[in-house]
Structure formats: C-alpha cells, structure tokens
C-alpha cells in the first residue's frame, strides 16, 4: 500500500506558463475602439496619445496584430456607413458640401488613427502584406461612400450638372468643385476616371454635338470658328480650375472632334464665307483661326491645303490662259508676282509659315505657270522691261527684291532653257543698244541664275558682258592708232563672239560709202591685231546718230538704226526715191526694210520721210521724199523701229525649233553619261534618269529621248541586249 502510495506520490513539474491575460487583447482593443469612436465624433481632446500608442504597440508586440487590424477595418467601416447615411440625407445643393465636410473629417480622423497605429503600420503591415492604414482608409471611403449605390449616381449627376450650368453661363462654386474632384483623384486615378472622367467626356460630346449643329446652321464660317475657339479655351480653363491636368488632352479632343472634325468639310466650303472667300478677301485673322483649330484634328490641315491648292490652281490657270493678260507680258508677270505675294502673306500671317503650305503654293505655281508655253518668254520680257526702264530711281535693295521675286517664278519654269534663249536675246538687245539701266542689277541677276542653274547656264551670258568690255578697249585702240579719223563719222564696233550671242545669219546690207570705208579700216586694224579671226557685220543690230538739216533749216540729231541710217543717207543725193530704188541701193531684206520705212514715214512726230501715197502700210510701188516740214520740239529725235516686242507667231515657232534642236545634244549627253556609269540599263530607267538629270533645265520629252537612244544605237554608242530587247548596253 505504502509502496503504492509512494508510487503515487509525484512531484508536479513546475509549469508556469506565461499566459497573457486572455482578456488582455479584448480590453486593449476596447480602449482603442473607443478612441476611434471619439475621434470620429470630434471628441479627441480627452484622449491620451501616449496611452493609445502604447496600447496599439503592445497589441502588435503580443501578436494581436491581426485582431487590431481587423478591428480597425470593422470599426472604420461602421463609421463610414453612418457617414454615408448623413450624406445621403443632405438635400439638394447641400449634398456636395456635406460630402466635402465629411471627407475632410474622415481625412483628419484617418491621420489620427494612423498616428495611433504607427507601430502596426511599420512592422505588422509590411510583413503580413496588408494595406497600410492610410490607404485602407481611402479604400474604405471609396467602397462605402463613393461607390455606395445612392451616392455614386447622385455625385456624378451633381458634378455633371454643375459643369453644364457653367457651360451655359452660370457661376458655380469652383472651390467646392475642385475639392470634390481632388477627393476623387486622391482615391486613385481609376476612381477619377471611372466615376467622373468617362461620363464627363460622354456628356460633353453630346453637348458639343448639339451646340455645333446649332451654330453651323446660323453662323458663317468666321463666326463659327470664333465660337469654337472660345469653347476650346473655356474647357482648357476649366481643367486648370478644377479638373485633373491629364484630362486636358481628352476633353479638348472631344471639343475638337465634335466642333471641328465633324464639320470640317461644311465649314471649308461654306457659301460666301468659306475658305475660298477668306482667301479672296485676305482675312488673315479668320484664316489664322481656321489654321490653328484645324491643326488640332487629323486631316484638318491637309483639307485647308487641298482647298487652297485647287483654288490657287484654278485662278492661276485663268490668269495664264487668259488671252487678255497674254497681250502684255509685263502685266502678265506682274499679276503672277502679285498673286504670289498675296499667298505668301497669307501663309506667313495666317498659316504660321508652315512648310507644307509653302510647298503647296510652289507646286501650284509650278503647275499653272507651265500651262502657258510663253511663260519663259514673258518672264524674260518682264526682266527686260525692268532692266530697261523700270529700275530708275529704285534703291538697290528694292532691285534685289524684284529680281528675287522673278527668280522665284523662274524656279517654277520647267523649260528653263527656253528662258535662257529669250533672256540671251533680250540681254543682247539691251547691251547692244546700251539700254541697260544698271550694270549691277544685270550682273546680280546673272549671279542668281548661276547659283540656281550652275555655271553652264550663264557662261554664254557672261561671255556677252566680256565681249562688251573688250570691244570698248578695241575701239579705244583703233582710234589711238588712227588719229586721222578724229574728223568725220565715228564708228563704234562691238565685236561679238559667235555662239555667245543670238545672232542670225543675215545678209549684210550696203552701207553708205563713208561708212563702208571706215568699216574696212576697222577690219584691217582688228585682223591685224587678232590673227586667224573672221569678222562679219551684223548690220541688223546696229544704231546710228546722224545730224540732219530739214527744209526750213531746222537741225536735228536723229537716233536711228543702221538700216534707217542707210536709207536716210540715200536722200543726201536724191529728193525722191521709190521703194524699189531704196531696196536695190541698200539690199536690206524686204521685211526689215518695210519696217524701217514704216517707222520713218508713218509714225506721227517721227515722220522724217514723206510717202506717196499717204497710207499706213508700205507698198512696193510707194515713193519717198524728205519731209521738209518735219518739226520736233526736241533737238534729239529717237526714231524707233516698228518692232513687235513680243515675238510674232513664226518667230516663236522658230525659237521653239531652235530650242528643240539645242536639246538634242543635251539629251544625248545625258544618256551617254548614265549608260557609261551603269553599263546596262532598261528603257524605263533610262527615261527616268535622263528626265531627272535634265530637270533643272527642261522637261525632256520621252519620245524625244527614245529618238535620241535610237540615234545613239545607230551611231554605235549603245546596243540592245540580244535576249531582252528592253535592255540597253553601253559600248565603250
């Protein structure tokens, strides 16, 4: 028994389990829960921060973090549900104010709760991957207030209503609006986007759709654009005042789409006020507004550009094909220049000098200037006119400006070689007749042409200037060597290099004997100094100053052409000469003779000759007398030749033919150059490359290129590939 008893005797192990008072956690949580209640009830002044902080710390330390956290969620949710009710109960306009007030309260409470639970925020939350207190507070607010059924839709409609009221001109409380929007943004960008931005954009689209329809029915284009601009600025301002900056692009997009993109075509083509009218009336401000608004929408600018281009092409086409304007080349070019100035100004002032618009302008001009095949001639004539007389009294800068503008037109020309032809002719006339006003201006234009088209283009033109200079020296040398010639008529010879000048082979007329002798002296002098050269006289290009005494003793100095001089000199020995006699004596070609007689007998005020019978035209049976009754108030009388400034039809054809003739070797040279480097090339590529190479001078005609290729094959520069007939092969 005793043994049994002994066996039964056991010493209990001293088990002192450290157990925290099971009610400890509950008690502590009650304290904290109470504090949260007090905070929400604006009654926090009685709370001790140290005590609350320590309690929360202890709960986490003793592994009651989970309980603390879930308790917080429950308590806060309960409070938010209360708040939600009081917000719902708010009437009318007070709704937003109540929401805002409660939001501020919640924020403050949240801050205090976070302070108390700071230790949990630092240790328990990151390790258990839970939402930090502040974020948790925002999320709960979002779920229990903003997304609660009754508030969500009411909040949205209230906000949209306010925006609508502001759009219709009412003044709203922007501060309240800003606070509310800021709350949505604080809750996360997705809340702002889903609960406000998306519906806001939809409602705005609807609003502007209706409004733009209303405007477009009753406004003209300019007014409509003004209104659209105002609306756009209003929306941008609204963003700055109370919406998220990121919404700016989205809302302006809506306005752009509804007010501009959807009505673009109608606006541009609006009758009496559309784009074409704006262009016609130089409405820079309206055009600028249209540009700035249309720039915002896709294809907006291209639409303006297209309409402008087609309008420009249309008017340009009328301008260049108008028979009326072709009559006066100077006027023709002046109108082109004016048109260009007009559009330059529009693009500069309204279209912010956009490159694409400049390109459109250039391509349009290129298009219609080349519609008239006489454009190169006219432009050269315009320059001729300016350099003959137009530049007197104009400052150097202005000359440059005019020349630059002409160069602009020149750039548009496809047939630059035709221009060169005419320019050479006109320059020759100016130089030989000493009519050129400013040597500087002439040279400046040559330099411009040179930079534009290269050395080749102007080498002959420069040769002409050199000839003029050397001729001056030659004449000085001639008279220095022949002092005996100081008495008697003076001869001025310009020695022109063949090839540089546009000379036509002409039959030399019979000069008066005095002159013929002088010419012979000069010839021997010139050939004496320059061996191996040949001189031929271009009597059709010369001028002469002669002194004449008429019947009553009136003395005049007559400024005439060489032909006219020859004719007049005949009257030194005769009173009456018939047409036939004159023709025989002078051997001037008939057409020239007729013109020259016409200018002396039929022009009022210059009629140094008298004709029988009196008529406007020269007949082969007419007879001529010295007009003894000739009077003029000037001592010097310039007798011009009746020349058509513009080329006549046959002359034009002739020039054309010469141009075509000149192009042939150029085309051939280009073909050979290309084939030499490529060795083998197919037909289409040859055409393309040749066209490209010659573009700066003229637009090569494909059939002509083909002919040149044939000719080169004949001359065995090229051959066709035996397998592929389209391939050409270069033969070295």
């Amino acid at each position: 028994m005793s043994n049994q008893k002994k066996r039964n005797f056991q010493i209990e192990a001293f088990k002192h389990r450290v157990v925290v008072d099971p009610k400890y956690a509950e008690k502590t949580w009650k304290i904290l829960e109470h504090a949260i209640h007090e905070i929400y009830n604006h009654n926090a002044s009685g709370l001790s921060f140290e005590e609350l902080y320590r309690n929360a710390y202890n709960m986490v330390l003793h592994k009651f973090g989970e309980k603390l956290y879930s308790g917080l969620v429950t308590t806060m949710t309960a409070h938010l549900k209360e708040i939600s009710k009081s917000i719902e109960a708010a009437q009318g306009d007070l709704f937003l104010e109540e929401l805002n007030r409660k939001w501020n309260d919640h924020n403050k409470a949240l801050q205090m709760i976070r302070d108390i639970l700071m230790y949990m925020d630092r240790t328990y939350i990151p390790n258990s991957r839970k939402t930090p207190v502040y974020e948790l507070g925002l999320n709960l607010w979002r779920d229990n207030i903003i997304h609660s059924g009754k508030i969500q839709s009411r909040l949205l409609s209230t906000l949209l209503e306010l925006v609508h009221r502001e759009r219709t001109g009412e003044v709203i409380d922007r501060g309240l609006m800003r606070n509310t929007i800021k709350m949505l943004m604080d809750l996360g960008s997705s809340v702002y986007q889903d609960d406000f931005e998306k519906p806001f954009l939809e409602v705005s689209a609807e609003f502007y759709k209706v409004e733009s329809q209303k405007f477009i029915e009753c406004c003209d284009c300019g007014d409509y654009l003004k209104k659209a601009e105002i609306r756009l600025n209003e929306e941008i301002e609204r963003i700055a005042h109370y919406l998220d900056v990121k919404s700016e692009a989205k809302i302006t997009n809506v306005v752009e789409k509804e007010m501009i993109a959807n009505h673009m075509t109608r606006l541009v083509h609006m009758e009496n006020s559309g784009l074409v009218n704006m262009l016609l009336d130089d409405k820079y401000e309206d055009l600028g507004r249209m540009y700035n608004l249309f720039k915002r929408v896709p294809n907006g600018l291209s639409m303006i550009r297209d309409v402008m281009t087609s309008h420009l092409r249309e008017t340009g086409k009328q301008l260049v094909t108008d028979a009326e304007s072709s009559k006066d080349p100077v006027e023709f070019v002046q109108r082109l220049l004016d048109e260009r100035d007009k559009y330059d100004k529009i693009i500069c002032q309204a279209f912010s000098n956009a490159k694409t618009f400049q390109n459109a302008l250039n391509s349009s001009f290129e298009y219609f200037i080349n519609l008239n095949s006489r454009s190169p001639e006219f432009i050269s004539l315009f320059v001729d006119d300016k350099l003959r007389k137009g530049l007197k009294g104009v400052s150097e800068e202005d000359v440059e400006i005019i020349l630059d503008k002409v160069m602009m037109l020149f750039r548009y020309l496809q047939e630059k070689d035709v221009f060169e032809k005419y320019y050479k002719q006109h320059l020759a006339k100016r130089l030989l007749s000493g009519k050129t006003v400013s040597d500087d201006a002439e040279r400046s234009l040559i330099v411009k042409l040179k930079t534009e088209c290269g050395y080749q283009f102007t080498s002959k033109l420069e040769g002409m200037f050199t000839d003029m200079k050397t001729s001056q020296d030659t004449m000085q040398g001639f008279y220095a060597n022949h002092p005996e010639l100081a008495e008697g008529p003076t001869l001025v010879v310009q020695v022109l290099t063949t090839g540089s000048w546009p000379t036509q082979p002409t039959i030399t007329c019979n000069l008066p004997t005095e002159m013929a002798a002088l010419c012979e002296k000069f010839r021997s002098h010139y050939l004496g100094t320059h061996t191996g050269r040949r001189l031929s006289w271009q009597t059709n290009m010369g001028t002469a100053d002669i002194k004449a005494t008429f019947g009553k003793g009136q003395k005049h100095e007559l400024n005439v052409s060489t032909y006219q001089m020859c004719v007049l000199m005949l009257f030194n020995n005769a009173d009456r000469l018939s047409y036939k006699e004159i023709e025989q004596a002078t051997e001037i070609p008939a057409s020239d003779l007729k013109r020259c007689l016409q200018s002396m007998a039929c022009v009022k005020g210059k009629n140094v000759l008298r004709k029988e019978p009196m008529s406007k035209d020269i007949g082969t049976d007419d007879a001529f007398f010295v007009n003894d009754k000739f009077t003029s108030k000037f001592y010097k009388v310039k007798i011009g030749t009746v020349v058509a400034q513009k080329e006549s039809e046959p002359e034009k054809l002739e020039t054309r033919q010469r141009v075509e003739e000149d192009r042939k070797p150029q085309i051939e040279a280009a073909i050979v150059r290309i084939m030499k480097s490529r060795r083998v090339l197919d037909h289409n590529n040859v055409i393309a490359e040749v066209t490209k190479q010659l573009q700066s001078r003229f637009l090569a005609n494909p059939t002509e290129i083909k002919k040149r290729i044939e000719s080169l094959i004949e001359r065995e520069f090229l051959e066709r590939d035996s397998d592929d007939r389209k391939l050409y092969r270069y033969l070295a």
């Binding site: 700071m118 230790y119 630092r122 990151p126």
Partner: protein, 444 residues
C-alpha cells in the same frame, strides 16, 4: 532671452527629462514624437503649464540615448544599455532609421573597423555572402540561406526546395533572390524571390524554351537599375545561356543562348554595366578548363566584346584568371589570379591580352592548405581583392595597395560583399562572417 515656450517635460519610466519641441522635431513626422506634437494631438492641451510633465511608460536609459541622438545626431550606447533593448525602444518611438544611420559612417575602404563577427550554425563551407542595401546581409551555405538584418539579428532561414544554392542577391531591402540547382525530374530549384524578414517565398521564376516551361539550374545573378534580373541558366537539353526577367512582373523577358565554343550558362559572375548598357559574363577556371569573359548587348542580341585564354601560352606561373570585374571608368576589366596578382584587359580593344601587374604579388609561395579562390569587388573607385584570410584595398589610378583587412580566426575568406555602407567577409572555416564598417565622422 525671453522664456522659452517650447520646453517640454517628460516623465519616462519615472525619470524626468526636459527637452524642447524643436529637438523632438528632428524625429520627423512619422515618429512617436512627430504625432505627439501634431495639431491633432496637441500635447500642450494636456500640459497647460510647462511644469506638468508628460508620462511615457518606457525605459529611461534608452530614452536618454535616443534623446541625445536627436540632440546631436550621434549615437552613443553606454555599456549598461543592451543594444537589443535600445533597438526595441527605438522601434517603439519610430526612431529605428535614425539609429541605423547614426550607427556607422559612410563607407571608406581605408577606414574600416571590424564591427562584429557572427558565427553561424550551418554545416559545410559557405557559398556566398551578400550585403543588403540597408546594412543587412544574407549568407548561403549549401542549400540554406541565412538572412541577417542590419542589427545582425537572424531571421528565418530560406531555402528553395532544399536545392543547392548557387548565388544570392538583394533585389531591395525587403526581398532576396536565390538561384539554385534544379532537382531532376521535378520542377524544383531554379530561381525564387523571398521576403527577407519573414522568409516567405514570393515568386518563382520560370524559364520558357519554345513556349514550354522548363526546369533549370540558375547560377550567377545580376540586376540592372531598370528593374531587370539577369541569371546564368542551364537547362537539360543544352539550353544554356543568360535569362532576363522583369523584377516588377516576374515574367521572363529575354534569353541569350550561348553560342558553340563559348560559355554563358555556367558563368561564375554577371555584372551589369550601366554606362555601356551591357552585361559582363565571366566563366572562369576551374569551373571550365578555360576562361571566357564577354560583354552582351541585349538590345542587339550581340556579344560586343569578348576575351578568352583558349590557346594562350600558360607560363610556369600558370596565371589563371580566378575572378573578373569590369571598371567602366577605366575602360578595363580587372582580373585576379590565385597569387593575388591583378591583371587588366582593355575594354576598348576586342581580343586584347591581360596586362599583369606583378607589384601586388606578396603572397607567393606560402599558400595555405585549403586555399580559397580570390574575389574582387569595386566600390566608389576603390578596388577590393580577397586572398586567403585578408582583403586588400587598392586605390588611385594605378591601383596602389592602401589597406589590408585581416582577422585572426575563421580561416580563408571564401566570399565578401560591400553594400549598405558595410563590408561583409565570409570565412570558410567555422562559418564565421565579419561585418566591417566605417566609424562615424570625427566630431571636429
């Protein structure tokens, strides 16, 4: 002077402290004192006259230390205050970050002092040690990784399916990445991301070849500032190369397959070069018979620079490259051999040779029985090289030896790492690791 209005009086665990609100403001808003003095909790409501003290139920000795920390910015721990207690108190007041930043100064290789040695329990040799960004570290032994925070308190160890760990790395202060061998037949091993304080597995990284998820062995690791993870990978069907993952999504972004005759998947070391946007990959003797160092450009999928000692005449010294590190500022790669000789390869010339500098050969002829391979590290223009039981510090354009760190026990250093202004060295014997830190700057 007038009466100071911001004097506050505390009764901490029975001891009275007086300080000013200004001093306490140094604690910052996210601290006990920051909240205490916030308008919401206006302390002065409870203390209408400053004679009344504010009670805090905490340890007064620690409070004194922390108050001085707020006053001076310096941390002085008297011998009667246990460090652990102090840290706990600092946690309470929300001042732990203040304590950490005051505990040691900014890193300087020439002023390092041994702060502590920690002996681990793990069996076997250490594989790797990595310093964390905030002064903590993790140590890999076999298949286990032990994590220590900056207080050198140990956290729950980490393993990836108990597979042998090849490399470890800190993605940030909260996350550690482990690369491990695969277990044949299962999807185990590879690469995983762990929470550094709890040891939870957060993400396991997959490798996909031909739209199929494959198991793989992950080796050396590297990170780029644009949140990419690089790892050398070996698959079973010769799928060797460098894998690239996004740190944020955890998804594989890219895979650079190794070309025949070259080695990438077995790499000993990866290093992201920010300046040239390239990854340095080094596979070294004795893992392979030859050394391969290359720079990979992932945008062009191209090896932009490479060096190898294949076919190079090995001299009597047998200078085999044992570790390599790219030094972008000097346009060169520094290498080291088992005699602690430093060598340099020019990065600007493809296929250049190693220029050895024999100046540093100080240890030749007295190798210990169980040598560890030397390792290199670069920090703020200072070059560190470990050899046997010490670490040498080299400075200046000519890399002059300026300091040497040595401790008496623990044997050879098998790995070391610099980060969070600390240097950690792992010894091969006894599983000891040392934490070296720079003392706080002098008072004057």
């Amino acid at each position: 002077m007038g009466i100071q209005k911001d004097i506050v009086k505390f009764n901490v665990g029975g001891r009275i402290f007086q300080t000013t609100a200004t001093t306490l403001a140094n604690a910052g808003r996210d601290s006990f004192f920051g909240a205490l003095f916030d308008d919401n909790w206006d302390l002065r409501q409870h203390q209408p006259n400053s004679s009344q003290e504010f009670f805090i139920d905490r340890n007064p000795d620690c409070f004194a230390v922390l108050l001085d920390l707020l006053r001076t910015g310096d941390l002085y721990i008297p011998s009667n205050v246990p460090e652990r207690l102090l840290y706990r108190e600092a946690m309470f007041y929300g001042l732990i970050d203040h304590v950490r930043s005051a505990k040691w100064g900014p890193f300087d290789g020439n002023r390092l002092k041994l702060s502590r040695s920690v002996t681990g329990r793990a069996p076997g040799d250490g594989t790797a040690i990595r310093a964390g960004p905030d002064g903590g570290c993790c140590v890999a032994h076999g298949s286990m990784v032990h994590v220590f925070d900056w207080m050198l308190e140990e956290h729950p160890p980490i393993n990836l399916d108990y597979q042998r760990v090849n490399d470890i790395g800190w993605v940030n202060a909260e996350n550690v990445l482990i690369s491990a061998c695969e277990r044949l037949g299962k999807g185990d091993g590879g690469m995983g991301l762990f929470n550094s304080s709890t040891g939870d597995l957060r993400h396991k990284f997959n490798v996909v070849h031909d739209n199929q998820i494959k198991s793989y062995t992950a080796g050396a690791l590297s990170f780029s500032p644009d949140y990419k993870i690089f790892a050398s990978c070996k698959g079973r069907s010769n799928e060797y190369g460098i894998g690239v993952w996004d740190q944020v999504t955890g998804k594989q972004m890219d895979f650079f397959y190794e070309s025949p005759g070259w080695s990438l998947g077995d790499a000993d070391k990866l290093q992201w070069l920010n300046g040239s946007n390239c990854l340095l990959v080094a596979t070294l003797f004795p893992r392979k018979d030859n050394c391969y160092i290359s720079l990979l450009d992932f945008r062009e999928k191209r090896m932009v620079w490479s060096w190898s000692d294949i076919g190079a005449l090995l001299t009597v010294d047998e200078k085999r490259v044992r570790d390599a590190i790219a030094m972008e500022e000097c346009n060169s790669i520094c290498v080291v051999n088992e005699y602690d000789d430093l060598g340099f390869i020019d990065l600007r010339i493809n296929g250049g040779s190693v220029r050895w500098s024999s100046r540093s050969r100080l240890l030749k002829g007295k190798l210990p029985d169980e040598p560890c391979y030397p390792k290199l590290a670069l920090h703020n223009g200072q070059l560190f090289s470990s050899m046997n039981d010490c670490i040498s510090v080299f400075c200046g354009p000519d890399w002059v030896l300026t300091s040497r760190l040595r401790r008496s026990y623990g044997g050879s250093i098998c790995d070391f790492s610099i980060g969070g202004d600390r240097l950690f060295a792992l010894h091969s014997e006894e599983n000891v690791f040392d934490a070296w830190e720079t003392p706080s700057p002098p008072i004057i």
